[in-house]
Symmetry: none
Subunit: 258 residues, 2 copies
DNA sequence: GGGATATTCA
DNA sequence: TGAATATCCC
């Protein structure tokens, strides 16, 4: 028996909005510690790494680990049926059951909806997610990254991110011209630390990425006011959104080699 | 000579939006008491029952009864030409005339439009609308019914409505899974009576309906903040929207027999 | 009040 | 199928 109750169904809604266009289906790995999901897109360019720790749930009961394979499109459809302030309870029997139940309850408890989704058998690939000692780690407002990706997508398809101690430059060029957006670490001491842009740079890095994917990642913006980009030469960038109290949603994107 | 003046042309606009996809043409039966319309869809699954009482009109003159047969699609096209705050005057000569005139006037009276539509000869079938003593009568926010129909349409095509004193359950199942939405009577005394969900249940009922039609009925949502569902085993459900001061728009839908 | 999304019209 | 609009959410 697995049962996890989340006060804000909208959290999972936002998570699905930001991953459903990247991956068709994935296993939600439920263990006593929490729920996690790792999945790669069809072209194996991006990897999604979602971690939701048990402490972040209103209630969390998981006797033994189980993998819930779900169509992310179906799940996102069902989550659209949740009211904006509904709570969510996820219920699954055990490994033999072939469905999982999502229960939404309105704040006043005058409306309860439950949806059953069929489970899909997905072979559980283990992706090695190694903690690297990144050359550059940038913490910045997530809305700003979203805006940058949106703006640069108008110009071209590939963005060059150059980071050093002084700042981070996002460069793009296309048929109609080219553009650069540079952000600098926050110096204004009026800005609270949680909202400050911070660059930790061990050595300068320059990497190219497909804007299409980066833009897609920024759909997770509603999850967190801040985002971190971790980069090293030759390995995937990590774009990570903390999910308050619960965990985080990370996206890995392999750089384009010219 | 028939002449009826309505302060809000938008009311008739909303009425037509919610019925024009169900019935091609219908008779507007004008009598000294008001205007009424009964019509069935082509497949004889739904019946529309519209009542607009004379008191609700700004002015209302009708010497003797007459039936105005109109193409609802044409009428709805013409009503689209009305400004949002325009008043509407409906004018018809008598039974010999073959047109009816719709006059729109802007609030400041600086713009007057008039449209003439050809009358159609439609044989006036009398549908027996018997007031039944329903097993369950549910009054609920119309937006909530609309939301429920929209959400459940994502999952499947047939909804099972089960009503008893405790609540009303809308159930649906489809390829990807199944879902139930249950609403309970309002217990919160802070909610004004006009906005409260109320269930009058004589005996439990369980009925199946095609969601397609129910969803269509909910296009009438802009007419009223509340809607009532009246149900008894084996007879059509009535979905009724009160139209303030004027009357009501009711939809009858025969249940699906399994 | 601005952005995003859902619905409607062309 | 795309664009404009209306509604909802932030």
């Amino acid at each position: 028996m697995f049962e996890a109750r989340l006060l804000q169904a909208s959290l999972l809604k936002k998570i699905l909005e930001s991953i459903k266009d990247l991956v068709e289906s994935a296993n939600f790995d439920c263990s006593p510690e929490g729920i996690s999901l790792q999945a790669m897109d069809g072209t194996h360019v991006t990897l999604i790494n979602l971690v939701l720790r048990n402490e972040g749930f209103d209630t969390y009961n998981c006797d033994r680990s189980l993998s819930l394979g779900l169509s992310l499109v179906s799940l996102s459809k069902i989550l659209k049926c949740a009211g904006n302030d509904d709570t969510l309870t996820i219920k699954a029997r055990d490994n033999e059951s072939d469905t999982v139940t999502f229960v939404f309850e309105s704040p006043k408890n005058d409306r309860v909806s439950d949806f059953e989704i069929k489970l899909i058998d997905i072979k559980n690939e283990q992706y090695s997610i190694r903690k690297s000692d990144y050359s550059a780690v940038i913490k910045m407002p997530s809305a700003e990254l979203q805006r940058i990706c949106r703006d640069l997508s108008i110009i071209g398809e590939i963005v060059t991110i150059s980071a050093n101690k002084e700042g981070v430059k996002f460069s793009v060029s296309g048929d109609s011209g080219s553009g650069n957006i540079t952000i600098k670490p926050t110096s204004d001491s009026d800005v609270p630390a949680e909202q400050a842009t911070v660059i930790e740079s061990k050595e300068p890095v320059v990497l190219n990425f497909a804007l299409k994917f980066l833009s897609n990642f920024t759909k997770a913006t509603p999850l967190s006011p801040m985002v971190t980009l971790s980069m090293s030469e030759g390995i995937p960038v990590v774009v990570e959104y903390k999910i308050e109290d619960l965990g985080f949603l990370g996206f890995f994107l392999a750089p384009k080699i010219e």
